[in-house]
């Protein structure tokens, strides 16, 4: 149904499997990776799309992953949505606001997540008329 590119970065296998299953059932292609290093590798390989990023990961957390993306110039063309158990982010997010398009708190409603991904995919993929 869709060639929308979505990447889920989360160290919890259960979350990766559940989100992947839900998105695939709705006809969307989704790549899942367990950490920031793997996310950066996919970006180096040319991935562009919506990135669903867990904040707390053991090796490289979500904030550090985004800082690496920016330092390596891998952020353009991507919409980053943070997925986190924290109601409010801490000061590590300061300075990264412009790269993070949305922030969703776990446990999230899968339909709300899908709706957000659809909207941001539409923004990235010029699903809107090409004039403003």
């Amino acid at each position: 149904m869709s060639d929308i590119q979505v990447m889920l970065v989360d160290d919890e296998e259960l979350i990766r499997d559940a989100v992947s299953f839900y998105f695939q059932a709705k006809g969307f292609r989704i790549l899942t990776v367990p950490g920031g290093e793997e996310c950066l590798s996919l970006l180096e390989d040319g991935f562009r799309g919506v990135i669903l990023m867990d904040v707390m990961m053991p090796r490289m957390d979500g904030w550090r992953t985004i800082r690496e993306m920016v330092e390596r110039g891998l952020h353009p063309g991507n919409a980053i949505v943070m997925l986190t158990a924290l109601d409010e982010p801490d000061e590590r997010m300061e300075g990264l606001q412009e790269y993070i398009i949305d922030y969703m708190t776990k446990p999230f409603d899968p339909q709300a997540l899908l709706d957000s991904v659809l909207y941001y995919s539409k923004l990235l993929g010029s699903g809107y008329p090409n004039h403003v």
Partner: protein, 191 residues
């Protein structure tokens, strides 16, 4: 025409979808709308296109030197600050980040002057940090009306909460209520 009717909005993370909700049902306003969204260059145009697809008013990325017109929405571009000269002319500036961001809503809001026979509304929506708080305080000081998004509907509550902590916020609402409050303030019984 001298523009003395302005709605200025500060918004960050969670902003694109919140703005979509805010403007989807809003009729054309008898005011210019200026949005300061923390967004990277390149993404600003995409967000403007998304907003243009649902809004009843034309949406554009603000350009240096242009004059505000009522009934239009202007989105500040990423990578620079925006101020208003004489409450009507858009000026884009290079310069250091303010509150860790660029564009910064505090910079834009604090450039507003007290309007003569006009009306200014300042709004702070979802986002991380405290950008917009000093700006809201300034808008209140120059006689404007101020609104903050509520905790329940904010993806991140710290920006609206920082504005609230200034004691200068008149209303705390969800985006759909903010929509109708702005319509009431700008479109009812005024020229």
């Amino acid at each position: 025409m001298f523009n003395n009717r302005i709605v200025m909005i500060a918004v960050s993370t969670g902003g694109p979808i919140t703005l979509k909700k805010l403007f989807a049902d809003m009729p054309p306003l008898n005011a210019a709308v200026v949005i300061i969204l923390h967004i990277q260059p390149g993404m600003d145009r995409l967000v403007a296109k998304g907003l243009a697809a649902v809004a009843s008013m034309p949406v554009s990325v603000a350009e240096h030197g242009e004059f505000l017109e009522r009934g239009r929405i202007y989105l500040a571009p990423g990578g620079c600050h925006l101020t208003l000269e004489g409450n009507r002319r858009i000026m884009l500036h290079e310069g250091p980040r303010v509150n860790f961001v660029q564009p910064a809503a505090d910079v834009a809001m604090k450039s507003l002057g007290r309007p003569f026979m006009g009306k200014i509304v300042g709004v702070v929506l979802t986002g991380m940090g405290n950008d917009g708080a000093a700006g809201i305080y300034h808008i209140k000081e120059i006689g404007g009306t101020t609104i903050a998004q509520d905790r329940k509907t904010s993806a991140i509550y710290s920006m609206p909460n920082s504005a609230l902590q200034t004691g200068a916020v008149d209303f705390v609402f969800s985006p759909d209520k903010i929509c109708w409050k702005i319509v009431e303030l700008m479109n009812e019984g005024a020229n």
